[in-house]
């Protein structure tokens, strides 16, 4: 009895070992560190920005967007600080009322392979550079996808959005982006609500059914009207002969 147990343990452990080695093999098969690309952690695309005094777009990398596909796509952003040089440039652009532009490449979220995801062209959006400066780099970026998971648009707004001409004294305010990021799929538009309406109608008719007053018969409900009408008719009938006589007299 004692012998089979160690034997079993040996078998189980050997199986485990094989599985483990296989798993390790799997891991080794991947090109780690090349792209941040695994099944579960999503994939990354660059978020680029441009702000030039002469308003000719020169896009540089601002950060990396990590997109996660799936039923509910999500997105996160890693971005570096603005350099000293960029900060002064941004302020200069704001002074001439230039634009701060962002762009992301067109991607298809639901594709399995990296090559299928990337598509030709970019999606661009802009905000006034002064709004960017005055809001101390707090912006809201949202990415929009279509029904099938293609990225179709990007939008950027700052909070607050206005350009009031207030001077930003402190350089530190323009160092770190304070970005709120979201990805939005189209909302399913509602169809006509027939089921609820029918339910409501049913409930109403049930209520009517329960109410004893409503259940009375026609005569039970309006007996006084009918009686009154009948009396009225009788009175008018009996009153007619004298009326005729009256006419004769005149």
């Amino acid at each position: 009895m004692a012998r089979p147990l160690p034997f079993k343990i040996a078998v189980v452990s050997s199986v485990l070992f094989i599985v483990c080695t296989n798993f390790v093999c799997c891991n080794n098969g991947r090109k780690v560190g090349d792209v941040m690309d695994t099944e579960f952690s999503g994939f990354s695309v660059p978020l680029e920005h441009s702000f030039e005094v002469d308003d000719v777009a020169k896009f540089r990398v601002r950060g990396a967007l990590v997109l996660k596909a799936g039923r509910e796509p999500s997105v996160s952003l890693t971005q570096s600080q603005l350099s000293e040089e960029d900060r002064t440039k941004l302020k200069d652009v704001a002074a001439v009322d230039g634009l701060y532009r962002v762009r992301v490449p067109r991607v298809f979220l639901q594709a399995d392979r990296q090559t299928e995801r990337q598509m030709e062209g970019y999606l661009t959006a802009f905000v006034r550079a002064c709004a960017m400066v005055e809001s101390h780099l707090s912006d809201v970026i949202s990415l929009h996808t279509d029904v099938s998971g293609y990225l179709i648009g990007v939008s950027i707004v700052t909070l607050p959005g206005a350009c009031r001409g207030t001077e930003v004294e402190d350089e530190v305010d323009l160092e770190v982006f304070n970005t709120t990021l979201s990805i939005m799929a189209p909302v399913n538009a509602p169809g006509p609500e027939t089921a609820l309406f029918l339910e409501r109608m049913e409930m109403e008719s049930e209520k009517k059914g329960k109410n004893p007053q409503e259940q009375k018969s026609f005569f039970a409900k309006y007996w006084y009207l009918i009686l009154g009408g009948a009396i009225f008719l009788m009175v008018t009938n009996s009153a007619q002969p004298p009326a005729g006589g009256g006419r004769e007299q005149s």
Partner: protein
């Protein structure tokens, strides 16, 4: 409780819906004009001498009968649009008219007096070529139908087929005509282009081939276009290259005789024994002469010349239809209908008297605008005072006094006329509208309708009576044009004339031209539009004005360069100042790309945003912005608890409609994108699954209404999206797309609609106080005025105290069509393609024009006529009551005084 709800509902319904026309108001504010379209076939009804009918079959698949005395319609049948209802041939015998419809699919016989259908049969498949009536000894009993490879014979009385035969050598010979001379034979005429004519004769009885001959005719390529069989089997052909007439007797000869002549258009007609050819030839630049030639001899008949004066604002003659008749002295008389390039029909009698004209171009209106009429001379005089520079106090006073005097004079004259007219019976008082006495009425209810038709003819129509005041034919229209009509200067800037600009774009090449004209008189403006050598992508009217008060039109070409019209120095300077705030968008639906551009000071542009919709999945169907002349009176809605829900009123918002490329009923969808046209920000994105187009959209105020076909439930559905800012406004003074960081709240609800729709538009009023209605053109020809309050996403599922306070109608999934909502009562408008709405001077009143095959104009009062006294308002009663009260107060005052005096004495 339920009863209360019901009562409340009833009240709302009654309040909002009682708007039908009274019987005595029929035709008072509305008019309808019926058209038939460009005529393809025409037959004069000549079986009775006194008949005054002409049958026409048109390219719009309409079969109608016109009165030759007045040009009005006796009856009209509108068939399906497209090739299915296409009329291929029209034959007439006695009281029957035989039509071949839908490329030889159907054979129909109509009774021409009342327009009833005698019979209809389905023909064998095959491409239709020709048809003719077959008779024997003066009685016509059969119809022969020639198709690409077969010929068949049918009975005229019931349409049944007598025999069907194959055509010999139908691979090489192109059979194009069929003819019967009444001698028991049916001839099928075929042509081998530039070689010979093949003639096959069939026996009438059993369809056997009797003989086959071929005739040399190297100049002929198409029988239908240039030949006609006349009289006793004489084939007569016109060769336009050598301008000569060829004749061939089908029974005897095998050689053609040639008769040279000078002509533009030829038409044949037979009366009694004689066959004549009417030939139109150019006389000079403004007139054409028509002459009759004998069919037998080719000689010109005496005293048959008829002069046709060409309309300088019309097109060249295109077709000629002749009705010949024998006069008492046995000579041939005739009347003609001339059809010109601009689809006008002109009926002319000898010696050149125009009986009537029909502007059939109006059956295909593409776009239109309504322009205010100018002020009268006296009003303009008064207005002119303000426009001019001041030249001293004294002269200004004098001028004012003189203009006031003129006004007084005009008023007295007007009163006198009223008094004078009041004595005359009503029928005699006729206010003929001519272009000279056009002037704005008190409430600006009468306007000039400028209509652009597909043929390239422009019309100016008086909106009150529907009479055509001017017409102008543009003869350099490309074959596949797109039109955009813009009002650059309204009539408000006296003494500058109003100015409209029509952008005509060739859809194939993208090249465009501008036509600048005065919308009141139709005259081409002396301002020469700039030449546009590059294809035009986009055009936009700016609110900027030049020193002459003309709005600036910007044109963007395919190099993304912008040109302005007018481009004076003043305009360019203004543009430079405004450049950074001028944005525009371009849409390339083939690539699914929406892009936004900003103007630079040097009139070049820069790309600022881009949204790309993958074309593999969906395509952009339509893009709708808001109308620039729309006013919204209230900024928000008062809720049940007295708080205010503010509307999101973004003037730059675009509604983009997407349809899936996959049309499978489970996977097809309709998408709605709401995009800000300045920043490219996607405000809202909704998708209606299991839905299919065609989608009709109306976008106005803070709402978008769209209609689609639900493939799941197989019905038409309406959906409404409303946008709200919330309980407080972000910036209440001004709206800027660049500074609205918060996304609006979006509410949406859908409803079932029991009919499909043809077109949709929203009412528009001067100040936007009046509640809105949706005007829906139905395929049945009705125009439905649906109150917007039924399409409100805040309609509650469960009624609460607050929703009742707000007057919200409880949600019901189905929108009902109530018959009193039809604004055109029994005036059916066939094939409605568009509805145009314009505000009038009265806030309650909106002018509506529905156009399609017919044109219908009316007024609607969405909130009833709250600012107008009723027609039957009792002026006598109110004034007598007022007077009585006045005297009563006077008397009682006197009495009170006496009484007071008496009391003081006591």
């Amino acid at each position: 409780m339920a009863r209360l709800i019901w009562l409340c509902l009833k009240c709302i319904m009654l309040y909002s819906t009682v708007q039908a026309v009274f019987e005595d108001q029929v035709g008072k504010f509305d008019w309808r004009q019926q058209y038939v379209g460009k005529v393809r076939f025409s037959h004069f009804d000549s079986h009775v001498q006194s008949s005054k009918k002409v049958l026409v079959a048109t390219e719009n698949n309409v079969f109608a009968s016109l009165n030759t005395r007045t040009g009005e319609l006796f009856w009209r049948h509108v068939d399906k649009t497209g090739p299915e209802g296409n009329i291929d041939a029209l034959l007439q015998h006695g009281q029957d008219a035989v039509l071949v419809v839908g490329n030889g699919r159907l054979l129909r016989s109509w009774e021409i007096n009342i327009g009833g259908l005698n019979w209809e049969i389905v023909l064998d498949s095959g491409s239709f070529q020709s048809a003719c009536l077959v008779g024997q000894q003066d009685t016509v009993k059969h119809v022969a139908v020639l198709k690409k490879t077969i010929i068949s014979l049918h009975y005229l009385s019931n349409g049944h087929q007598k025999w069907i035969e194959n055509l010999p050598e139908s691979e090489t010979v192109d059979y194009q005509a069929v003819y019967s001379g009444g001698n028991g034979e049916v001839y099928a005429l075929g042509v081998v282009p530039h070689s010979h004519i093949a003639i096959v004769a069939y026996s009438l009885e059993d369809g056997e081939i009797i003989k086959q001959i071929s005739v040399e005719a190297p100049w002929l390529s198409n029988i239908q276009a240039s030949c006609s069989v006349i009289d006793q089997g004489v084939l007569t052909c016109v060769d336009s290259a050598t301008v000569s007439l060829y004749m061939l007797d089908l029974h005897l000869q095998s050689q053609m005789t040639q008769i040279p002549l000078q002509a533009m258009l030829v038409s044949f007609a037979t009366t009694g024994e004689k066959t004549v050819a009417a030939v139109m030839s150019p006389k000079n630049k403004t007139a054409c002469s028509i002459n009759l030639f004998s069919g037998e001899t080719g000689r010109r008949l005496l005293d048959t010349t008829l002069i046709f004066n060409l309309d300088p604002n019309g097109g060249k003659p295109e077709k000629l239809y002749v009705q010949a008749f024998l006069k008492k002295d046995d000579s041939v008389g005739y009347r003609v209908i001339v059809q010109t390039e601009d689809h006008t029909l002109t009926f002319i009698q000898q010696p050149g008297r125009v009986m009537w004209t029909r502007e059939e171009a109006l059956s295909d209106v593409v776009t239109m605008e309504m322009v205010d009429l100018p002020l009268t001379g006296t009003q303009a005089e008064l207005e002119g005072e303000f426009g001019k520079k001041a030249d001293g106090l004294m002269s200004m006073v004098l001028k004012r006094l003189s203009s006031q005097l003129i006004l007084l004079q005009a008023w007295i004259a007007h009163l006198w006329k009223l008094f004078y007219d009041a004595r005359k019976p009503r029928s005699q008082v006729k206010n003929d509208v001519t272009i000279e006495n056009l002037s704005r009425d008190e409430f600006n209810l009468q306007k000039m309708m400028v209509m652009v038709t597909a043929s390239g003819k422009l019309f100016g129509i008086d909106s009150k009576t529907g009479s055509i005041l001017w017409r102008h034919y543009l003869n350099n229209i490309p074959s596949n044009p797109a039109f955009k009509l813009m009002v650059q200067r309204t009539t408000a800037h006296f003494p500058h004339p109003p100015q409209c600009t029509l952008l005509i774009k060739d859809k194939d090449t993208g090249l465009a031209t501008l036509h600048v004209f005065n919308p009141i008189f139709g005259k081409k403006s002396h301002i020469s539009p700039p030449p546009l050598p590059q294809p035009i992508l986009q055009s936009l009217i700016l609110p900027l004005m030049d020193q002459d008060y003309a709005k600036v039109l910007l044109l963007v070409d395919d190099q993304y360069k912008v040109s302005a019209f007018p481009s004076t120095k003043n305009v360019l300077q203004q543009l430079q100042e405004m450049a950074s705030s001028i944005f525009f968008y371009l849409i390339d639906s083939s690539q699914g790309r929406l892009s936004g551009y900003r103007l630079r000071t040097d009139l070049s542009t820069e790309l600022i945003w881009e949204v790309v919709v993958p074309t593999e999945v969906q395509r952009i169907v339509s893009v709708k912005g808001k109308r620039p002349n729309e006013h919204v009176h209230s900024q928000g809605r008062v809720m049940g608890d007295r708080s205010v829900l503010y509307k999101y009123l973004n003037p730059n918002l675009l509604a983009v409609v997407l349809e899936s490329t996959d049309l499978h009923q489970e996977r097809s969808f309709v998408g709605i994108l709401l995009i800000d046209g300045v920043t490219g920000r996607i405000i809202h994105e909704a998708v209606q699954r299991k839905a299919r187009g065609p989608v009709h959209v109306v976008h106005s105020e803070n709402w978008v209404v769209y209609e689609y076909w639900s493939t799941k439930s197989r019905r038409n559905e309406f959906s409404v999206i409303e946008l709200y800012e919330g309980m407080e406004l972000y910036n209440s003074t001004v709206f800027s797309s660049l500074d609205r960081p918060h996304a609006p709240q979006v509410l949406q609800q859908s409803y079932i609609f029991p009919s499909s729709i043809s077109t949709m538009e929203a009412t528009l009023t001067e100040k936007g106080i009046t509640s809105r209605h949706l005007l829906i053109g139905l395929p049945s020809g009705g125009i439905l005025s649906l109150p917007k309050m039924f399409l409100d996403p805040r309609r509650p599922e469960i009624v609460t105290e607050q929703s009742r306070e707000e007057n919200l109608i409880p949600y019901a999934p189905e929108l009902l069509i109530r018959t009193e909502w039809f604004i055109n009562y029994n005036q059916t408008v066939s094939r409605v393609r568009g509805i145009y709405t314009a505000p009038s001077g009265l806030e309650s009143t909106c002018l509506v024009v529905a156009y399609g095959l017919d044109i219908y104009q009316t007024r609607v009062y969405p909130s009833k006529q709250f600012d107008v006294l009723k027609d039957d308002y009792d002026y006598m009663l109110i004034s007598s009551v007022l007077l009585a009260l006045f005297f009563a107060t006077m008397i009682s005052k006197r009495l009170a005084e006496v009484k007071l005096l008496n009391r003081a004495w006591r």
